[in-house]
Structures are given as structure tokens and as C-alpha cells.
Symmetry: C2
Subunit: 199 residues, 2 copies
């Protein structure tokens, strides 16, 4: 199998970065040659998360076709939110929690979507279905994505599946007080955004 | 939850009829109020299959909006292959094994696709993931859908997942010689098609 790149949407949020890392990890266990990349630098919140769980930010790309023919999308499906040369690539897999809009393919593919608050919640279910353990650091990252997308389970998009996934991930990551961690994490994003706005 | 209708594509083949019955059964176990219907009468092959497994053909509809606001699609996603008033309905779930083409939604939904030879293979996996047992007759119907779509596992679209699902379903259905059954089933479809052509 030829190498594939896995990425979330442009101007990535924490879920876009983390879901790509989660899907890449899962696919590697299935024997795929994949690399999680990003369509932009991590924002302040995501930087805090990556730093907290001692994880390197994924490589940033602006085009994929120079490297690969096939890609996997997470946390988006709309072509205008994707890599600039998406029309020259074959999408083999999508994992997403958004509406489907303008996404067309020439061939059948894996598409996994659910109307949950976070893409990383769907990925938590996929690990469970495949019987693959989520590594401790990755669980911390996925928990952070759920906190980010659901604003600590308070956004109206939050489902019981997000709540269940968050609890399971907190156990694996060894985060005893996810509310305390979540508030600090969300604040890390807000603080820097405010500073930037003032500059 | 308000009632939903579940159906496959127009001019239904065996998979379109059976996958709707399988998804409806699965969703009922999850507490949904759903009814499997069809967008046309069963063809000769499907009639043979339904008769063999002593199962009534689903009710045929030409429009869904008079009955429901929400629907689930199996074995298709393209609007022109769907119910005539699809643009007035909300699609909450899709289970399919075709390319995605012209399918757009206003809201997030469940979408489950895989590049397998048959939609009923994906449904077999979904039953397994949810830990729900497939009833004996339904297993026979789903096995028939796989035989139909893959021409007894000989079509180039056949995957190992189809082979595995077929074997698992044959066990549940108590079909010892699925090749013998499959040849008879495929022949039942061909015989009548030939007759019709000659008339
Ligand atoms: Mn996002
Ligand atoms: Mn997201
Ligand atoms: Mn079909
Ligand atoms: Mn089919």
C-alpha cells in the first residue's frame, strides 16, 4: 500500500489536529503507511494541549499531491476547507462530525460520520470497536479535543457519546479532574487570542 | 423519536431490499421507531430470496413526506436514485457501499460507508460491533444480498470482508452449501429476466 497523508481542516482547531493523529495511529495498527499532518500551525489552545501531553505538532503542508496520491480527511469533508490540491487526490477515508456538503468521490470509500460534538468521540468508538488500546498521551489529546469542541460538554452539540468518551479517555490519560484541566486549556486559547486582538 | 422510513434505491435489487430490513431491525433494537420500505417491487431474484426465507416483501412507497419527516438510506446516496421527494426530507442515517455523489445535508448525520462488495456486509459488521444477534431468517436474506452483489464472491468488487460476512451469515442461517443455494438464487433472477426479454 502506498503512503497516505491524514489531516483535518484549514485553520486547524484542536480536534482537527488530534483526530488526524488518532486516525493515523489506528490505521498504522491496521498496517497502513500513513502520516498525520496539518493544514496550518496549531493555535494557542492546541499548543497548550500538545505541550501538556509532551507531543510534537504535526508537520504543516499546503499541498499533498507532491507527496501522495491518496489522503484521509478528519473533522471536515467540504473541499474548500481541505488541502488546496484536494481535487487532484483520492480520498480513501473520512471521519467527520459535520454535515456533508460538496463532497463527491469517483470511487467507493470509507466514510464514518456521526452527529456528535467532536470527531475524536467517533474515533474513540472506532478504537473500541477494533479492540485497539488508545495510548495514554493520545487519550489526553483526544480528551482535549472533546473539551475544545464541546466547551467542556456545555455546547448544545454535546451528546451522551461525547460524555462517555470523555470519561473513558480521562481514565486512560490519568486526568482525575478533567474540569480543572479543561478550564485551564480553554483559558490558554482565550488568553492568547485576546492578546492578539489587542495587538 | 418520530417514526422514520428506511429504504434502498429505486428499481431495487436484493441488497437494496435486504439492507433496509437489516438496518431497520438494528435501529429497532436501539429503540428507534423505523419501518423498512422499498422504492419498487422485488425483482425475480429477490422474490426467490424472500420466498426461500419465508419473509414478506416490504411495502412499496413512491413518496415519503406524506408519512415522515426523516428517513434512512441504504445501498445508495445519490438523490436521483432515491425517493422522489428526497429534497423535502431529512436524512439521518446512510449505510452504503457506493461512491458519494451529489449527496448534501443541512445537518450532521450518521454516515457509514465502506468500499465493500455489498451493503449487507457493512451491516453484518454493525451488528457485530453493537453486539446484536442477527435473527436466522435475516441472516439468510443478508447472505443472499452478498451473493447477489458479488455474484457468489466472484465480482471484482468482492473483498475479504464480504467473504467473512458471507461465512458468518451462512452459519447463522444454517445454509451448509451456500454455493448451491447461490447458484439457484442467481438462476431464479436470470430465468425470469430472459423470459421477460423474449416476451
Ligand atoms: Mn474542527
Ligand atoms: Mn471537530
Ligand atoms: Mn443495489
Ligand atoms: Mn449493494
Amino acid at each position: 500500500m502506498s503512503k497516505e497523508l491524514v489531516f483535518g481542516h484549514k485553520v486547524p482547531d484542536t480536534d482537527a489536529i488530534v483526530a488526524a493523529m488518532a486516525l493515523a495511529y489506528l490505521k498504522k495498527q491496521d498496517g497502513y503507511d500513513v502520516e498525520a499532518v496539518a493544514l496550518g500551525e496549531p493555535n494557542a489552545e492546541t499548543k497548550y494541549v500538545l505541550d501538556y501531553f509532551d507531543t510534537k505538532a504535526p508537520r504543516v503542508i499546503s499541498r499533498a499531491k507532491p507527496e501522495v496520491d491518496k489522503v484521509m480527511l478528519v473533522d471536515h469533508n467540504e473541499p474548500q476547507q481541505s488541502v488546496s490540491d484536494i481535487d487532484q487526490l483520492t480520498v480513501t477515508d473520512v471521519v467527520d462530525h459535520h454535515r456533508i456538503n460538496g463532497f463527491n468521490t469517483a470511487a467507493p470509500l470509507y466514510y464514518r460520520a456521526a452527529p456528535y460534538g467532536c470527531c475524536s468521540t467517533i474515533l474513540t468508538q472506532m478504537f473500541s470497536e477494533e479492540g485497539i488500546k488508545i495510548p495514554k498521551k493520545l487519550a489526553g489529546l483526544m480528551l482535549s479535543a472533546i473539551i475544545s469542541d464541546t466547551l467542556l460538554l456545555k455546547s448544545p452539540t454535546t451528546t451522551d457519546f461525547d460524555r462517555d468518551a470523555l470519561k473513558a479517555l480521562a481514565d486512560i490519560a490519568g486526568i482525575d479532574d478533567y474540569e480543572d484541566y479543561g478550564v485551564k486549556m480553554l483559558k490558554a486559547g482565550t488568553d492568547v487570542d485576546s492578546k492578539t486582538d489587542q495587538q
